[in-house]
Symmetry: D2
Subunit: 352 residues, 4 copies
């Protein structure tokens, strides 16, 4: 590998694309060689996101116009919509099999073809890649990611919930059928497409739940929770929208198993993350704010006593665009390219 | 009673005071005769809240300067801090026993002196008034309120949770020891006192839980939930702060008792509130937004299936300053003075 | 006129439509008989704006389906897009000539056909109605409005600027070629159509000017400023977007004519509005906040010394949806139907 | 100089202190050796700003407890209140004359003792240091800063206005007595002290001007504008508060001198900043948003035609905590220590 890897971003005009650029422009071992955005092809990045005006970046092109075989890209971030993604990556890896891919969509997160068909209503278009893909939750699958060609970057809600709950399930420290995840997200999680419901005047000065009882990303949580617990786990999950740009906070209600007290759960989490750069467990009884991880790749986790004996409240916070999407994608890239894991993603949170 | 009742507001410089004025200025059967605000005594209301500049209102005075006996007030709203309240109301009712009082503090909400002492760490200063006070949740205690002299206006979080849960407990439709209330409030709930943690730059663009496991208003919920259920009930409750001014949304996780499905719970609530002016149950599966009740005295309640069989999600939304405080206080006043219950508080919500 | 006038709202699914409903639902002499919204025809108002769920309202219909001749509407509010408006109103008044119309679009604000063609790039489709229309700035044209059949409700920016400047121009108190209007608006001014630039995440936590040097509504200001001054006036005008829902604040820099000091300008304004219900001039040196007029039909105006000798700063604030649109429209309706001018629009501002 | 300079931050518990830390934690040639915060002495930085929990930082101490002579600090950032600052820096430099100081207060910005006394109402406590201090607007005083011991970091409003106007004054391209600066700032500009007027519920969903006609920082603008123009200049300046955390946008109205058109002014600015890393002039007619410089040290400047012939509108945007305070302070530090000017402050803006 030369000192700088040649990188492409597919879908650079969305929020995760912009966040990738924010991080990669200052990454010391990356050359940004390709930016695609079908509807904005021919424009400069500054037309789409004016904050990039001072930087020298490639012009936006359409995916169709890219010649994967000759472009010599070392790694591609794919930030495209669901379903389109499968076709694009299949084509890309067919023509340039040595290129590595970090996919930010949901397309390769479910490893079971039947589960995929059930959640998305159709057969997967690239089942052999689905089988190959490694689930990119670094703190869990670090070793496999290092040698992966295709990594499925986890969802933002699911990253937040998993980092808080997986160690507890692995330690068999909580009852598996009483997990309630009450999740709250900032608005960038809804993406950049123009929808009435996402207008400033619809959103600001208000709060609401949505998708109650049937959020699409539950398949991913079911898969990973069950894998960690060694048995089928179905958790309650309710997402809400907060009038802020960035941040997810999950308030998770659990019951200790076999007499495990909240402090025992805190200890399990503290040990699990003792050596992690991007997960920080707060002292017992303290709970996190989304604002304190804004713009950083950090996840903060807190544990407190519930007033109902035997139950604990675990709260996790991360920035949905950073650790919940693009920061974690760069973390995956670093592993896949043999770079230090925190290279280029060690920004300190922006608060206030 | 002459056509207009003489009304006083104690603590008019806070947010609940301002909200009372907003409603009462246009109430057809009220004369605003007294406004107190100790630290702002001598000032005009417009100096404290400039939106009142166009209206003719009494000057702010200190409580000390008021002569209760000769003022001839028909009803007083008391929006003073905890503990001070007990002393002021005791003094007031001692000197002007015919005056009616709606108290917006927590001082008279707990009917059990022992519970009061446990939650607040000291004996009540006016136990005989504590015994006399009627809990002012109109939808439950309407009859008693009509003949009450002293009404304890419920808290904002607790009003929201009670309206959603009490009918279910009364109908014995839910398991009493698996109630999880995940509550989110706008910032006006924190009041107007200058605290670092409530500055715009600390609060905006972020989200957090607070008082996890030990919020002070739980005593009130315990009391009313247990009364409704006919047995001791302790619910899990976690409050959060949303970067918005007004609104509380409570996401409540319950499990049906003896095979009650979520639709059965929805039916219980629909029947319970069929004739109420200020509680509106949405069609099954729809859930409310705080923005759609902003500035109104309405509570919107929705019920939906949880993905975990046997469990339901009940979500309630209200404006913490209106139905959660001053609007409900005027609703109580209307009952106490024999006015139509919705007089002066039938404003349509302000959205956007 | 029977006790309640039959009213229609064309374009009820937008923000000005919702604001009209908020006001008219509680107007004592109005029956809401017709609501149109072409793309939402067949739906209930609660599907479009859930805050109206508790109220009994007509179903939304398409304009095409309305039979103007037989509907017997006393007055119609037209909240439709530019250009469509002209055709709809021409058709409506052709078939139901006794119906009165308050138009909230820009279509009938310019009285000069040539000015219209210059600003909008095409001939007016209903020039005879353009000639008939009365400009609906109540404080200036009250008498003509009372007998008008068609009233062109002023724009939000232009109402704010005119109320602050017209009396100064009429009094020949300021230099006409040094007027700088720096205007700031909340987001509802951009309407409810789904545009990327109006998404929450694009707008919140930021501030910008737009349309610098060439905003479309300048024609209306030119017309009214020039009429008031008795000579051609072209003012500098820059609009900005504030991350809030409601409110316009205009900071206006003027130079006194013939030695008029800022206090003289203040006196001119104070006298001009001494008897007005909806314009409040603050004491000299105090300046307004948008938040203190939110949800009310009030305009607050302040005047202060500039540090540059001879210059003054005039600041005006109103709610763009109320006095800047729907509140003023109801004010016009009240005059046209012979009702008291402030009936149904005397709400006190909602702050906080 | 060893590879890392030993740095102190006085007043680390305020917003500019936190922003300094955000930047310096990742600065490759800095060791953070001292953090003071009198009221929080004895606490950890994470108690004051939880986002710093993952980092190893010195405990907060009181200024009184610091032994300047033996601490061996290479450079100190002083983020203390006005007036206190003078005394602290005088003491510090008396005991440790080799230490360099970047002062973020207003105390050393005015070079004329008489001007200081006029604006602040008292004699300066350290007039000899006032004479020594170099005004730290890097783009203007770069050479002097490199050899300075004490640098007065400019104010946020004044940096924004100066970067937009100084080149025009130097080029004698605009009329000096018709400059109107309409400035808008986010809330962090008001600091972190607990004041009622800065509470979230007072600020959000609203907009207002303040300090109209008499803002304290005008002395600094007068000084630098006059120096650039070679004659006395007094500009009109009105600050406003925007409900956002970070960002200043100044809309500046100017009149070209001797036939200079807006495009000529644009050319002057483009040339002036052609080689600057932190000032970016947009193409003619485009104007900046604060959101696109958030968290970066960039200033974006745009120029557009006014509709009044002969006048231009110049708009500049920066992040008040970065280029408007702490970023510029680190830029000064870099020069003073002989580091590359953009080291540690080349973060890409955080949007959305």
């Amino acid at each position: 590998m030369p000192s700088k890897a040649k990188i492409g971003i597919l879908g650079a005009s969305g929020y995760t694309g912009a966040e990738l650029l924010r991080l990669l422009i200052r990454h010391p071992r990356v050359e940004i060689a390709l930016l695609t955005a079908d509807r904005r092809a021919g424009q400069a990045m500054r037309d789409v996101f004016p904050q990039f005006a001072p930087y020298d970046l490639p012009q936006l092109v359409s995916i169709e116009s890219v010649d994967w075989a000759s472009d010599g890209l070392d790694l591609v971030f794919c930030a495209l919509p669901h379903a389109t993604t499968q076709k694009v990556i299949k084509d890309l890896l067919g023509k340039a099999p040595a290129t590595k891919v970090v996919d930010l969509s949901a397309d390769f997160r479910l490893s079971d073809p039947a589960a995929y068909a059930r959640w998305y209503g159709h057969e997967h278009h690239a089942p052999e890649l689905q089988a190959e893909a490694v689930y990119g939750l670094v703190e869990v699958y670090r070793r496999a990611i290092k040698s992966a060609r295709l990594v499925a970057n986890p969802g933002c809600y699911t990253t937040c919930a998993q980092l808080a709950v997986l160690p507890l399930l692995k330690a068999k420290a909580i009852i598996t059928d009483e997990i309630v995840i009450d999740a709250k997200s900032g608005m960038t999680g809804a993406g950049r497409s123009a929808k009435e419901a996402m207008l400033f005047s619809e959103v600001s000065e208000g709060f609401n739940a949505y998708g109650v009882g049937h959020h699409r990303h539950m398949g991913e949580i079911d898969q990973e929770f069950s894998k960690a617990a060694g048995r089928e786990v179905i958790a309650t999950f309710t997402p809400h929208l907060v009038p802020m740009n960035r941040g997810i906070l999950s308030t998770i209600y659990v019951r200790g198993r076999r007499g495990r007290a909240p402090r025992d759960l805190h200890e399990v989490l503290t040990k699990a993350y003792a050596k992690e750069s991007f997960v920080h467990v707060l002292p017992f009884g303290e709970t996190p704010h989304t604002r304190h991880v804004r713009g950083s790749n950090m996840t903060f986790i807190g544990v407190a006593d519930d007033r109902v004996p035997g139950r604990a409240i675990v709260i996790a916070a991360l920035d949905n665009l950073t650790k919940g999407a693009s920061g974690q994608a760069v973390q995956n890239m670093n592993l896949m390219l043999g770079y230090p894991e925190s290279m280029g993603i060690d920004q300190v949170a922006l608060f206030p």
